[in-house]
């Protein structure tokens, strides 16, 4: 499998505050997901729970390229996206444990959370279904001429659903301000891209609609950020949709109950060692002098505190009142 080239080092470096934020946001997602996995193990989270560990650079880099009012939509592997949009870790964790204080009052769970305030439109369980919906959000932006762009995330597996191509056609036809982000973590459950896709270069999937596509190293947060800036600018300028294929990797099983026998332990280990988005970025910032060792440690400690507080909140909050069973069905 071809990997996009890593950026040359050393470089001038990003604004130090932004670099720190990148590192912090990625680490928050990692620690949050580790805690979620632990709570699942204790039976405090039920059903499906799809962790984002390994893919953190994707949402952190993309989110930084957005302007206020831009929207985000994704599938069920959504905890990272929510934290990146600024949703409160307490509310996200409490939704995972099915409590009244969760973002969906405990009714949605891991796969179904929304935040109108942060312009996060879910949290969708049906593979591919979010793609036309994200396209429709972009339609509303163009209709209202509000200048906003919709980031529509989907997986390599989802890239084979028919509705993706129906969306591409309409988005190109009507020049809709949408950025399609294919999170290519190389597997859809146990099926590798090579086993499911006639053309594994997913960034080219818009070719027959004249939608430009770009392949990006999704393990390099700055590369993601730069590509995100280019792509959102393109979509915002009225030129229509654009596709980014972000090469990334998930470390954990597809969901908590996937033994992941379709790949070797060595394969996972190699990615962790050679391409981990957080470890490498931390080292890079140290080398660049943007961060000191004690600052890194301090961040980790602060984040562990936030995550533990979220876990306590999520386990101490009450379950929803039984009256909630019949609410929120109709307006």
């Amino acid at each position: 499998m071809s990997e996009p080239a890593r950026k040359e080092e050393p470089e001038a470096g990003l604004d130090a505050a932004l670099a720190k934020k990148f590192y912090y946001d990625m680490l928050l997602i990692r620690r949050f997901e580790e805690k979620a996995g632990q709570l699942y193990g204790m039976g405090l989270i039920g059903g499906f729970c799809h962790l984002y560990i390994g893919q953190e650079a994707v949402v952190v880099g993309m989110q930084a390229a957005l302007k206020p009012g831009d929207q985000v939509i994704t599938a069920y592997r959504d905890h990272g996206h929510m934290l990146a949009t600024g949703m409160d870790p307490k509310g996200v964790m409490a939704e995972l444990t099915g409590r009244a204080t969760g973002y969906s009052k405990g009714k949605g769970g891991s796969m179904h959370m929304f935040s109108v305030e942060q312009h996060f439109y879910g949290g969708h369980g049906i593979v591919g279904a979010q793609v036309p919906i994200g396209t429709g959000l972009a339609f509303s932006n163009r209709y209202k001429k509000n200048g906003a762009v919709c980031l529509t995330y989907f997986g390599d597996g989802a890239a084979n659903q028919g509705q993706v191509y129906e969306s591409f056609n309409m988005a190109a036809l009507w020049k809709l301000p949408v950025v399609y982000i294919i999170e290519n973590n190389q597997y859809a459950m146990g099926t590798s891209v090579e086993r499911s896709s006639a053309t594994p270069e997913l960034c080219k999937r818009g070719a027959s609609f004249d939608i430009p596509g770009e392949k990006v190293d999704g393990m390099d947060v700055e590369a993601v950020y730069e590509a995100g800036q280019r792509a959102t600018e393109y979509a915002r300028s009225g030129k229509g949709p654009i596709i980014l294929e972000l090469k990334t990797y998930r470390y954990r099983g597809h969901s908590m109950s996937d033994p992941a026998k379709y790949r070797t332990r060595e394969e996972v280990q190699e990615v962790r060692e050679k391409r981990d988005p957080i470890e490498h970025y931390g080292a890079r910032l140290l080398q660049r002098g943007a961060l000191r060792e004690d600052e890194l440690k301090g961040m980790d400690k602060a984040i562990r505190g936030i995550v533990n507080t979220a876990a306590e909140f999520a386990t101490e909050s009450p379950e929803p009142s039984t009256d909630e069973l019949f609410t929120d069905i109709y307006a």
Binding site: E34, G47, K107, M189, S196, R265, T315, E319, T322, L325
Partner: protein
């Protein structure tokens, strides 16, 4: 300062497991993400990773130990001396305020519903008549009964039919190399090869339609949906193409295909993954719809479905997959499509169910017997054609009927049965036909709400008592 590492739950249904292997030893330094151990669940061997950093102080459970309970401490992690934080014992986090709904509440609610619900208006139609009464296959005296899981019974049915007929093939997401998302197709790739056991991309509308075309072309596809929730992507091909073609072609050609997979609520998988499609498909002329509970029926009906020249919807249930029941050991065990089964004879009330709810009515009947109510139980097994004859015959005897299903109440299987009974056995009824169904809401995620949203044994008992005018 030290932290206990607890035995993790590694699937929604796991309660205990085997600590198969330690990958660390006492004294090892670990970091988050390091693999600590291999743990065997009921379905698979899983790796278990560290979350916290530190040194393994002690291993509390020896490798190879079976039956280790979830949340039992299995090791002690010692934090690095210089950076000693608060002792954060994960065991300290407890579920707070998990509220069990009381039995009385359930009964009161059901009674109220029963009191409010008036029987549907008389409908004098004739649809849903069972085909010519079919009898279950004779199982010769002395036939050995083998206890197998429903999962194995389904696999055996497919394997037997694939051995018998080279035009039968299986297609779906993760059916081959992964051995099935729920392990129904375990071993089939090995036996039949990649030409007949085919992993598809995630493209339900596409592969359902492709299956229809393959059936038009003379093959006999078995199309697995990972769950029926995802078949909504494909429902146009199922109904417009598979179900209607025989009629539209004036009988020239049909569509011999089986669409199968788990249906209904699993555990805590929320609104988009927990729907019962029984009445949806039962509504469609041209389809046959099967929803078995017992392993023998799963096997015999799936074999019959694969041989049937019509499109068949085969609704399984994830929670039932792991249950074990006896299956006759015979070369050819077939169960007729369209025939309900009386599971228990009784004189006071008829209770009807299909799929997972059959297990509930069996339990409810035992409890009712303890209270002096003698229930007759019917497992519908097939929903279309619906065996109304068997149900009517029973109601003529008991004069009362309760139907049980997970689906929503409006236009449900129970609605149809009530309509049939009112139309055809009105004079025999001593109480309004009563439905126990899933609640009329999308499935909530929260554990307490999910419990309220599904039929329970308490609801069934309360409904049975209500139609018997007993408290």
């Amino acid at each position: 300062m030290s932290t206990q590492i607890l035995m993790p739950a590694l699937s929604p249904t796991m309660e205990e497991g085997k600590l198969a292997k330690w990958l660390v030893k006492e004294g090892d330094e670990v970091r988050s993400g390091d693999i600590l151990a291999e743990i065997e669940t009921d379905k698979a061997t899983m790796e278990f990773e560290a979350v916290d950093e530190g040194r393994i102080g002690k291993l509390l459970v020896a490798e190879g130990t079976e039956g280790v309970k979830v949340n039992q401490p299995i090791a002690v992690l010692v934090a690095d001396g210089d950076d000693a934080e608060e002792p954060e014992s994960v065991a300290a986090i407890q579920v707070k305020g998990a509220r069990e709904e009381t039995k009385q509440q359930a009964e009161a609610e059901v009674r109220e519903e029963v009191a409010r619900g008036k029987p549907a208006a008389r409908v004098a139609d004739d649809t849903g008549r069972a085909e010519a009464a079919l009898a279950d296959m004779e199982v010769p005296e002395g036939t050995e009964l083998v206890t197998v899981t429903v999962r194995e019974a389904l696999r055996d049915a497919m394997a037997e039919e694939m051995r018998r007929d080279a035009s039968v093939f299986l297609m779906g997401e993760e059916v081959a190399q992964y051995q099935g998302a729920y392990k129904i197709s375990q071993g089939l790739l090995d036996e039949f090869g990649a030409e007949r056991v085919i992993d598809t991309p995630i493209t339900e509308h596409g592969f359902a339609g492709l299956g229809v075309g393959a059936a038009f072309g003379g093959l006999k596809p078995i199309v697995e949906f990972m769950t029926w929730n995802f078949a909504m992507q494909a429902i146009d091909q199922i109904i417009n193409s598979a179900a209607k073609t025989r009629y539209m072609s004036g009988g020239q050609m049909g569509c011999p295909i089986v669409f199968r997979g788990p249906n209904g609520a699993a555990a805590r998988v929320a609104a988009q993954h927990s729907q019962d499609y029984s009445s949806w498909y039962a509504n469609v002329p041209g389809l046959k719809v099967i929803a078995p509970y017992f392993a023998a029926d799963a096997k015999g009906l799936l074999k019959a479905a694969i041989r049937d020249p019509n499109p068949v919807i085969f609704l399984e249930n994830e929670i039932v997959y792991g249950r074990s029941f006896p299956v006759p050991k015979m070369d050819e065990y077939l169960v007729p499509i369209g025939k309900a089964k009386v599971l228990r004879a009784g004189k006071d009330v008829t209770i009807v169910a299909h799929s997972i709810c059959v297990g509930q009515i069996v339990e409810a009947a035992e409890k009712l017997a303890g209270e002096g109510i003698d229930a007759e139980l019917i497992d519908l097994r097939t929903l279309r054609p619906l065996d109304t004859a068997t149900v009517i015959e029973s109601v003529k005897k008991t004069n009362r009927i309760v139907t049980v299903e997970q689906g929503w109440p409006i236009c449900s299987v129970g609605s149809e049965i009530a309509s049939q009974i009112v139309g055809k056995a009105f004079d025999y009824l001593d109480a309004p036909p009563t439905k126990v169904t899933g609640k009329d809401v999308p499935m909530p995620y929260a554990a307490n709400l999910e419990k309220l949203a599904l039929p329970t044994i308490d609801y069934i008992i309360a409904a049975a008592k209500a139609v018997c005018y007993r408290n």
